[in-house]
Structures are given as structure tokens and as C-alpha cells.
Subunit: 415 residues, 2 copies
Amino acid sequence: MHLGPYHSSCLNLAERLRIPYNVSRMSTVQTSSSPPGTFEILATDGEARLGRLQTAHGAIETPVFMPVGTQATVKTLEPRDLEELGASVILGNTYHLLVRPGPEIIGACGGLHRFMGWEHPILTDSGGFQVFSLTKLRKMTEDGVAFNSHVDGRRLFLGPVESMAMQRVLGSDIAMCFDECPPYPCEAKYAQEAVARTLRWARVCREQPRAEGQLVFGIDQGGEFAELRAECARELAAMDFDGYAVGGVSVGEPEPVLIQEMADGVRFLPREKPRYVMGLGDLWQICEGVERGVDMFDCVMPTRHARNGTAFTRDGAYPVKAGECKADTAPVERGCTCYACTHFPRAYIRHLLNVGEILGVRLLTIHNIHCYLAFMREMREAIVAGRFHEWKAEQHRRLRGPTGQFAAATFQDGR
Amino acid sequence: MHLGPYHSSCLNLAERLRIPYNVSRMSTVQTSSSPPGTFEILATDGEARLGRLQTAHGAIETPVFMPVGTQATVKTLEPRDLEELGASVILGNTYHLLVRPGPEIIGACGGLHRFMGWEHPILTDSGGFQVFSLTKLRKMTEDGVAFNSHVDGRRLFLGPVESMAMQRVLGSDIAMCFDECPPYPCEAKYAQEAVARTLRWARVCREQPRAEGQLVFGIDQGGEFAELRAECARELAAMDFDGYAVGGVSVGEPEPVLIQEMADGVRFLPREKPRYVMGLGDLWQICEGVERGVDMFDCVMPTRHARNGTAFTRDGAYPVKAGECKADTAPVERGCTCYACTHFPRAYIRHLLNVGEILGVRLLTIHNIHCYLAFMREMREAIVAGRFHEWKAEQHRRLRGPTGQFAAATFQDGR
């Protein structure tokens, strides 16, 4: 097959990514006593640990949940809302931002922080997950993936070089390596090839120019194959990244498999560096991750489910649109201190959702994000106090009933 | 024709409106030195006047623009946003709230203020306008109008008794009389009948039970017929309402006709009471109204047009989605002090609108409402300073160019 079109797309994108954006307009990099990438472990309780990761835009206390801002906005929320909710770091999506508005516009505005008015840390994923899950007519080469944009069908190319160049334009505090995320289930042979490619691409990503103070994390793949996970983790560790992620989980596998994959991935990743499990957002599962030494999580669940009317609470989720809520003057969650719960009856939020008012989705998003971030704050306190395991057992009971066990079916969710 | 079904609907609604809602849960009524309804004229400049209207939930400084909260929310905004923007009073829609969520639910939540978390004044329209403009299969009787709900086709009945009962459940600070709003154009005979009916209904509304401290305003009709407007105004004045509105304007007539109708309506309304022109929201036209002694305005323009991407500025409106904005790092309006303009480049808001992100509509709504309320604040200062006419001439030039004259076509907008 003639590779001309991909190469010309690639060149075109490389060209677009070299745009001379105004460096003086880049968002201010915060000064700190410790340089970006410094990761201090402040307390441990078993494998669970309380940490602090320095970035160019401030410190992140871990374990942390990162709300997802796919298209340069955590849906319905402003930066001041996220600050009020106590978000210390948010996620941006390289793939989505490459498609719209593109690097020229974000570059012209001085990077993603300035563009979206968020002065605190941003982690950007590499686009690998979206390229493999959202696009059509993919053609993989050693240099990356040619694909059609999911918006307008435009032919684009993304590989380790382009992804890192785009993340440099975005100016994120933490850039992720461009990886291959295989689906579930997946043959061992394919998983092995994906690991090999992910490792080759990780070496390329490692050598690309970065934004000032930008950290780069490697991503462990290997599907459900423990040896592949271990091998991938060891190879990545040898490349000395600023942090490490477990990728390719929560892609449709049963929950016990997911937990096992996470455990297999984390086990061989350096203890002294931050460890991140990508796309994991069930509170029960987050506890399982932290118990195994995971520090960072992200998921669209609290924002996406707000849009279909689901409230997350410390005692599980429920549909606010349900008829029982229609004249209920209680808040969405009793005892919750978020703006939505302290100002409005459940009946009001149900009414807004029912008549299609945007404010309903916004108020429920505020509540859901608050629920997640308050959960993580409490968890960090439990680790400091050396009572993480009791706390976790209690949360598991509250979230899933008396047994506190695996969910009947995995809560699947895209990114 | 057999009237049974309407009467049974009517009874059913009357039944629904008698629900024993919990008075102790009603929103707190503010104490003030002056009782609700007190209207002080603090300064005048020609016919333009600066006033203060006391209501059960606080004072309203006039001339005032009231953002519209059709379905118990000023679309996309929270009460704290409206407070930050300086809104002193908002509008609620009796018709929409009757259809969804209905009086039972709002009653159970302690009235509209509690339901939507807004502690400041609320004016509710009577539903007359919506019944005559939104519904199908209308059947008018001397007692009101039977109609099919625009949402689910359910047969409902609204007349002066039902409208006032619903506004009592809502607990608004200012209730409007149930009137008949004829379309434009309209025959003199029909306009005359509508005026007669509006006056008969006004007398019925006048005698209905009210919420504590609730004011009631009469509505002047008469279409483009000056004598009818004058007669209607004189008859209403004799009924001694707490305030008066000019209705049936901005329903499709050319701008010079609209201005004339407003002038004809206002001229014979009591000077010592607040005067309100319903549904008028063009800044140029608002100036014309204030120059003729109008105190209150409302319109969906700033919120509705935000949803299609139009920014209102002191120098006219423009589409933020336009290609020229795509990499523009300027704010939506230079010099504007709203949250959107002080935190985000125009390119960001365009991007959000372009990719369908709710935050884009919200930020533009914040800007547009700020633009309107800042305009009214400046206008009130100009009246106090005795330079309203110079200020108005300058605004007219900025809004409509060198001549500052009538718009080529009326900016039509529903409610």
C-alpha cells in the first residue's frame, strides 16, 4: 500500500505542531521548593500511600481522582467550580483537542491552561486510547496510526512523535506516552505485539522535546496476561519515566479480571514514582487500587452519569429522575456539603432534568465531583491515621451492601 | 358546545391548587421599614425616573431588567450567579410551571423561592401570553381558556381564578393579572373585545386570595389602537393595582408601532406606581421606554441568544461562532468585567460552542446578562446625575451606528 497520504498527513501535522506560538503568553509556571517530578511519600499504610507530586503548576496530593476535561472543559464546570470542589489536577484529551480546536488555536492562546483558564496541574492522555476506540479506517504503521477523525472524517495521523508534539503545544504538566491499547478479550499474541509496540513507542516519546517542566509517564500494557504486564512494567521502569500508568484496564473485562490486571501492572512498577491506573472510576475499585499502591485515577463516570441523571453517593448511585424524588424536599445526598445539596431540594433537580434544563446536569455534576473528591480526601486522612483498611471495609459495605464484594457486572465506561 | 370537560378540568385544577402546602416551609419574608408595594421615586430626569419598589423579598431599584426564569431557572445560571451579576428580581412563568412540575410539587417544596433557591424578588406572569401563543385547540369562555398542554397534550384550564391561585402557590412577590394578549396585526373589534375581557378578568384577579405580601399588577392591552390603550389604562388605574404593565407589545409589529403602543399604554397609567412593559428586551427599545417613564422590563433575549452563540455588547450583537473569532485571544467584549470576559479568550468560548459544550452557553449567558444589568446600572446613574438624555443618545449611537435610529426590522422574540 502506498504510504504517501499518511506521510503527507504526518508532515502536515508536524508542520501544524511547529507553529510559533507566543511563549510569553504561556501560562505562568509556579515556582516551588522542589522541582517538577519530585514525588514524596508522606505516609504509608500497608501498600496504600499518601504522596505529593510536584508539577510545573503546583503540587498534587495523592491518592487523587482527576476529573476529565475531554474538550478543554470538565463538562458544565468552570475552573472556579473545580477549585471550590477541591480538584487539584484535571485531565485533557490530546485526541479530542487535536481534532477540535487543533494545535494552532490552543497554541495561539498560550497553551491549554490559558485557553481554558485553569491555573493548576493538567495531565493529558496521549490519544492512543481514543485512536483505537473512536476512529474508523485505522491503518497502523511502525510510526503510529493513520485514521479518520470521528467528527468530519478528515484523515489524520497520530504516533509517538505527533502525540508528544501536541502535548507540548498543550503545555500539560504530565504527558502520557503514546501506547497501543488492545481491546478485551484479546489473544496473547496480539497482546504481546501491542506491548512490544508500546515499548518501542515509549522509547520514542521519552526522547521528544517537552514543554517547560513537563513530566512524562510510561504506560504498562499486556491485557490480562500477568507475565506480559510484568515484562512491560520492568522495561518501562528501566527507561526511568517521571511516573507510570497501568493502561488497558476497564475496557469491558469482568471486575475480578480488572482488579487482577491492575495488581499485575502495579506490582513491578517503581515504588518511588507515582502510579496511575487509567480510566478507573468506580469508588469501590479505586479503593482496591489504593490498597495495591496506586496513586492516581481518572474517569468520566461522575460527569457522564450526571448527564443521564445518576447521582453518586457514599451509599451507591441512584437515578434522580425516579418518580419517588418528584416532591422530595431532601437534598440529593443527606449530609453532603456541596453547593447543590446545601441549596436545592432533590425535587428541584429532578424537575430540571425532567424538563431538559442544563442547570440540572450542572448541579448533579457538582454533586458527583464533590462526592468523588470528598471520598479521596477522607481516604487520604485514613492513610495518615493508619486506618485505611478499616475505612476501606466500611466504604465497601456502604457502596455495595453487606458483603462489600465484586459487582455483579462490571460498570463499563468509555473515555 | 358542551362545556362539561372544561369545567371538570377547571375543578380538577382548582382542587390541585388547594393542596395544603406547608406554610412553615415557605421562604422567609423579609422585613423592611416600608411595606411591600411601597414605590418611592428617588430621582427624575424628564419622564425617566429612578425608583425603589418594596417587595416581600426585598427592594427593587428601577429602571430594572428582569432575567427570565421560565421553568424555575434562568437557563444555565444558579442563584449565586444571578446574585453576583446583580440581578435584583427575576421572572417565573405560571404557564410553564403549571404544566411542569405542577403546583403540588412546588407547593410541597414551600413555594418557588425555596424550590429554586432564590431568596430575592420574583415576578410571575399570569400564563395569559403563553396560553394564547403556545397552545393548541384553545377554547375561550368567560371564565378563561381551556387548552392542550404544549408538552403532552393534556387538557388544562387557565383563567383569572386559576392563574391567581397558581401564583399564590408559587408565592411570587409580584403576580400579574390574567389577560388576553391578541396577536399582531389584529382588527379593532377583536382588540376591543380583548380589552373588555382583560378588564373583566382584572377585576376577578383583584379579588383573589394572595400569598403573604404578594403584589398584583394590572395589564394594559389594546394593540395598536391608542384610544383602546388609553381606555384600558384608565379603567385599570381605577382598580388601584400595585403596579401596571403594558402587554401585547413586541409580538411582531414594526418597531415604530411598538414604540407608539408603549407610549400610548404608559401615558395614562398612574405616575406614582411602577410601570412595566412586558417582553421588551432590546437595549435601544429599553431606552425609549425609560424615556417615557417605564420602570421595569423583561425578555428572554440575553439568555436565548446566548444559546445560539450571540454575544450582546454595548456596541451591538455579534456571533461568537464566526470564523474570525477562532484564534482571537480578546475577551467576548473588551473592557467587560464579567467572569467570562475576565477569564477566557473569545477563541475558547467559540470552541466550546462549536463542539457543543454546555459551558460555552453558560459563559455567554453570564456575559449577556452582565451586559444587560450593567447597562441598567449605568442608566440609573445617568438618571440620578440628570444626564439621561445624553447617555441615551450615546448608547443609541453605539448600539445602532451614527443615526441611532429605528432598526430596519423589529427584533422579534417569543417568551
